[in-house]
Symmetry: C2
Amino acid sequence: MSTFPRKISDSTVRRSSLYLRVLEALELEGSDTVSSRVLAERVGATAAQVRKDLSLFGTFGTRGLGYEVTALRERLAEILGLSHEWPVALVGAGRIGSALFEYPNFRERGFQIVAILDSDPRKVGQSWDGIEIHSTRELERTIERLGVEIALLAVPASVAQGVADHLVESGVRGILNFAPTRLRVPPGVAVNEVDLALELETLSFVLEGGGRDGNPAPEDVAAGPEGESR
Amino acid sequence: MSTFPRKISDSTVRRSSLYLRVLEALELEGSDTVSSRVLAERVGATAAQVRKDLSLFGTFGTRGLGYEVTALRERLAEILGLSHEWPVALVGAGRIGSALFEYPNFRERGFQIVAILDSDPRKVGQSWDGIEIHSTRELERTIERLGVEIALLAVPASVAQGVADHLVESGVRGILNFAPTRLRVPPGVAVNEVDLALELETLSFVLEGGGRDGNPAPEDVAAGPEGESR
DNA sequence: GTACCTTTGTGAAGGTTTTCACAAGCGAAG
DNA sequence: CTTCGCTTGTGAAAACCTTCACAAAGGTAC
C-alpha cells in the first residue's frame, strides 16, 4: 500500500519486526510509553539506531516522553503488513515441511498455512490438521483459488527452481526458500533464503579463528554486542 | 587457527561458503580452473566482489588463468573451518529439533549431531537413529565428554536464554538459535539467529508495498539481482 | 624472446549504513 | 509563565561495503 520517501533497507525492516515484538510485550506489561533507549536495549541495538529507523517511516514520538506503545505498535504492524492475515502455501510435505507446518509462531504472527502441496503420490490425499495435501499438479489452481501470495518452499534443491517458477506464474510474490539454492525470480517477486548449513558454516569460521579472538569488544553490559548479526 | 590481517565481514564469510559449494560442484564437473567471472555468475555476485573476498584471505589465483579449483576448494574449506568434522549437540527434541536432526545437509557439510538433549522426561531415554536423548540435567557432562563446541538450540523462547547460559558454561562457543529471542552471550561466543517468523515478516513488508514497486532493477540476465538479501 | 590475450589483485571512488551530537520541542513543577 | 529535565528527529561524520578501473603478470603461439 503505502510507499516511503527513501528506500527502506533490509536491516531496518528486520529491526522493525523486532521493535514490533517488543512493543507487543510492553503492551502486555502495561507500559504506556517507551523511549528509544529502552526499545534499543530490548532488541540489542542503539537508541540512535531505533530513532533513525522509525524516522524513516514517519514521526511517531513525543519529545521528552518517548513513543506511545499502542499507537506505535499499530502503526508498525500496518507498515510491516501485519495488520491482516496472510494465507500461505506450504510446498513440500517432507521433514522440513512438517516442522514448518507445526511451527506455532507463523500463525501467531498472522501467517496461516491454507494449502499444502507435494509431488509424492503417497502423501497426496493425506490431511494434516484438517488441511488436505494436494498434488503439485494442482498447484496453480490451488494458489489462485485461495489467493495465496506467500509460499514456504521446502522441496529438494534439485527441483526448487522449477517449483518456484511455477509458483510465480500462479501469482505468488513472496517465497521463503529452505532449499540450499539461490533462486532466480523475476522483478517484483521477493525471495528470502534460509540456508541452515550456511549458518553453521559462519559459526565454524568464527570458531576456527577467523573472527580474530572471537567477538567484538566487551563494552558495557546493557547495549551489549551480539556474537553475530546479519 | 589462522588469523587474518583485516577483520573479515559477515557478508564475505557467507559468500565464501557459497564459493566453496560452487567449487565442489565444479570439481565434480571436472573443471581444473575457474575465473572470478564464472564463480560470480554461479553465486549471483560480481567478479570484482569475488576477487575482493578471496584477496582478504590471501592470494590464490593465477593471472590470465583464474583459480585452481581443487587448491582453492581445499584452502577455503580450511579457512571456513570445514576441513574437519564438527561434533554438534542438538538441544530440544521437539518438532524443530526432529527436523534438524533429519536434515541431511548438516552431516554432508561436516556437522555431525552427536548428542541430543531434552528436558521432557518422556523423551529422555528414547533413541533417534542410535543416539540416545539425554536429560538437560546431564547437559554439562555430555557436552564436555563429547567435546562439543557447536549447539543447535531448538527449545521454546521462554527457556532459551537459560539453556544458552548453561551451554556456554559447558564450553560451547557457537550457537545456532532457532528460538525467537535475542540471546545474550559473553564475548568469545558466537550466535546466529534463525528467526523464521521474521523472515516472513520481511516478505510481507515488501508485498505490502514497502519495498517500493517490488524489486531492484531488472538489469542484465547474467549477474542478476536477488529478490532479497542479507 | 616477443607479442598478445586473459585474468588477477588492489588502490580509489562511490554508495550505503551506523553512530554522533545537538537543536528543537514537550510536559511537569513551581 | 518560566524554567528544567528529558527525549526526539536529524544533519554531519564516521565506518563499512561494493564497484570501478587499471597496472601487473601468467600462458600461449610463433
